[in-house]
C-alpha cells in the first residue's frame, strides 16, 4: 500500500521531505524508444507534435501509463522559445536540430525579438493544462526550459557541436555580444517557466546540457550571473527547481550557487560525491548511465542498486538517469527500473 501519491512522493523528495518510496522519472522518457510515440511520429514531425497541445499532451502521458513513473515531463524541445525570438529551426532526420539563421554578430543578437510566452507559446501552456487535467493530481508534472548557455550554444553553432568552438569564440572575442545574448535569454526563460507554472507545472527543470565543456572560471564569468538571475526570478513561483547539466563533476558547486533545490547529476559523477560537493544542501536527481538500460537484467539491477546505495536512504533523492533515454532503449528495461526502485526503497514514513 502506498502512503503517498506519485505526485506527493516526487514533490516531497524535491523538498527533502520523507517519502514512502524513492520517486523515479527519466529524462526523455517520452520518445522514439517507445512504440506509442513512434506511432504518432509516423504521421507528425517533432515540431508538429509540439505545436498541437492535444498531441503534446498525449505523448507526455505515454510514459506515465506505460512505466508508472512518479512525474511526467512536458513533451517539448528546449529550442521552442527560440522560434518566436526569430530563429528558423528545423529538425533534420538523424542530424538533430538545425538553425538556419545562427547568431554570428551583435546585429544578430539585437535582432532577437522579446517573447511574450502567454501569446507566442500558448500551445505549450495549453498542453500543460491538458496534461494536468488528465493526471488529476496523481502524478506530478514537470515543466522545463533550456539554460541560457546551452540555448546560446545552439544559437551560435547552428546545431549540435562537439567543441562549441564558435560559442567560446564569441565569449572570448566578442564578450559584449555574448553578455547581451545571455541577458536576452535570461529574460525569456523565467517568463516562459513562470507561465508554465501558472498553467500547472508543479516543478521546473533547467537543462544546461552542454555546460560541461566550460572551465569553472568561464562558468563563473560568462554563465553564472544569468542562470542565477533565472533561479532568483523563479523563487516567487514557489515550485521546486531542478538544475541539470552533463560533465559537471567540477562545476556542481558553482551550479548550486547559481540555483536549484535539486541538482541533476550526470552518470560519471558518483551520487554521494556530488551530494558532498553541494554540502548536502538540497536534493539530488540521478544518475544511472543511460547505457545501463541495455545491460542484461542482473547487470542492470546491480547498477540500480549502486545508485540507491550511494543515495543511502537520505532525504531528497529522485531516481533518474544521468542524461536522457537513448533511442533504441528497451522499454521493458525502463519499466523494470521503475519497479525495482519502488520495491527496493519502500519504507514507512515516520
Amino acid at each position: 500500500m502506498d502512503t503517498l501519491s506519485s505526485s506527493q512522493r516526487f514533490l516531497n523528495a524535491c523538498w527533502q521531505k520523507p517519502v514512502d518510496r524513492t520517486p523515479v522519472w527519466f529524462m526523455r522518457q517520452a520518445g522514439r524508444y517507445m512504440s506509442e510515440y513512434r506511432a504518432i511520429r509516423a504521421n507528425h514531425t517533432l515540431l508538429e507534435i509540439c505545436a498541437q497541445p492535444e498531441l503534446a499532451a498525449q505523448v507526455t502521458l505515454q510514459p506515465v501509463t506505460r512505466l508508472g513513473v512518479d512525474a511526467a515531463i512536458l513533451f517539448a524541445d528546449i529550442l521552442l522559445p527560440l522560434i518566436p525570438m526569430g530563429i528558423q529551426l528545423e529538425f533534420t532526420a538523424g542530424e538533430g536540430p538545425v538553425i538556419h539563421n545562427p547568431i554570428q554578430s551583435r546585429a544578430d543578437v539585437d535582432a532577437l525579438r522579446p517573447v511574450e510566452p502567454r501569446e507566442t507559446l500558448a500551445h505549450v501552456l495549453m498542453a500543460i493544462r491538458i496534461v494536468r487535467k488528465e493526471l488529476d493530481g496523481k502524478t506530478a508534472l514537470i515543466g522545463f526550459a533550456g539554460a541560457p548557455f546551452t540555448l546560446a550554444s545552439y544559437l551560435i553553432e547552428g546545431g549540435s557541436s562537439r567543441n562549441l568552438l564558435k560559442t567560446k569564440r564569441m565569449m572570448y572575442t566578442n564578450p559584449q555580444s555574448w553578455h547581451q545574448l545571455m541577458e536576452k535569454l535570461a529574460q525569456v526563460i523565467p517568463d516562459y517557466l513562470t507561465a508554465q507554472v501558472e498553467a500547472g507545472a508543479q516543478a521546473v527543470q533547467l537543462f544546461d546540457s552542454w555546460i560541461g565543456t566550460l572551465t569553472p572560471d568561464d562558468y563563473r564569468e560568462y554563465v553564472l550571473p544569468y542562470s542565477k538571475s533565472i533561479f532568483a526570478a523563479l523563487q516567487k513561483t514557489r515550485v521546486p527547481m531542478i538544475h541539470f547539466g552533463t560533465g559537471t563533476a567540477a562545476l556542481l558547486p558553482l551550479m548550486k550557487e547559481a540555483g536549484g533545490n535539486v541538482m541533476g547529476v550526470d552518470w560519471q559523477t558518483p551520487l554521494d560525491w556530488a551530494w558532498e560537493l553541494i554540502d548536502h544542501h538540497g536534493s539530488v536527481q540521478g544518475n544511472l548511465d543511460p547505457v545501463a538500460l541495455f545491460a542484461p537484467e542482473a547487470e542492470l539491477e546491480k547498477r540500480v542498486k549502486r545508485v540507491l546505495h550511494q543515495a543511502d536512504g537520505r532525504l531528497g533523492h529522485i531516481f533518474n538517469l544521468g542524461h536522457g533515454i537513448l533511442p533504441d532503449t528497451p522499454v521493458d528495461q525502463v519499466k523494470r527500473v521503475v519497479d525495482l526502485v519502488h520495491q527496493w526503497t519502500h519504507r514507512p514514513i515516520e
Copy 2:
C-alpha cells in the same frame, strides 16, 4: 640564459625535480593547423606519413622548430598497432578513422593477431631513431600509445562515437569477450611502448581519451586491471609515464591507481583540484582549454596565467592543453603560449 636544455627541463618536471622554466608541449602539436604539415599532407595521406619514417620524423620535428616546445611527440596515430592485429583502418576526409571490420563477437576478438612491434611496426621505431638523432638530445621525445579502453572503443564502434553504446553493451552483455579483448590489447601496448623506448623515446604517454564516459565503478571493474598491468610492465623502461584522458574529474584517483608518474588533466578540471585528487603524488600535465588559443591576446594571456597560478610554482608541472590542438588554431597563438610560459616561469634552480 637557460640553465637546462628543453629535454632536461621536460624530464625533470616529469620526475618532480627543479626546473629553470616550466616545460611546455601540446597534444597534437604537429597537424593540420600548421602550414608546414598541410604542405606534406597535400601529397600524402595520414597513413602514408605514418608509414614512411622520414616523413613521420619530419612532421614530428615541425613544431619543435616552429614553436620551441620542450618536447616532441612522435607523429603517429593511436590506431596504428591495430593494423598488424588484422584491422582494416581508413581515415576518411572529415569523418576521422573508420574500421571496416569492427569487433562484434568473441570470434572477432579471437581473430586479432598478436603483434611483434619490432617487425610489424618497425617504421614507427625507425621514425623515433631519426627524430632522436635530429634532436641531438636538446628536446625530449615522447612516445605514445592508446590505452586499452580507448582502443577497444574504436575497435567495437568502428570509429568515433558519442555514447560508446556498442562498447558498453559488449562490457555488460558479453564480459568474457570484453576481458579477452582488453587482455589482448594490454599485451600489445606495453610491448609497443617498450620498443619505442628502446628506439629512443624518453617518456611515454598513454592516451585514454574517451575514458570519461565511464562511471568510476565501471572503470574499476572493466579497465583498471588492464591499464595497471601496462604501467607495471613499463616500469622497467625507467622512463616517465604520462596517463591522459578527458572528462576525468571523477576518475583521476582511479587512473592514478592504474599508474603514471604524470597525470594529464583535461581543461574542465582545475589543475590544483586535480593535483589534490591524486594527493600531489606525482606530476601533472595541462590544462589550457584548446579553444583558448582562439581568444584575443589579452584573454589568452589571462587563461595561461590562470593555469600557472593553479600550478603555483610547485615541482612537477608540465604545461599543455587539456586536449589536442584543434584544426584551425592560429599557429602564432600557440607560439605565444610557449614564449609566455617560458618567460613567466623563469626562475633560478636552487
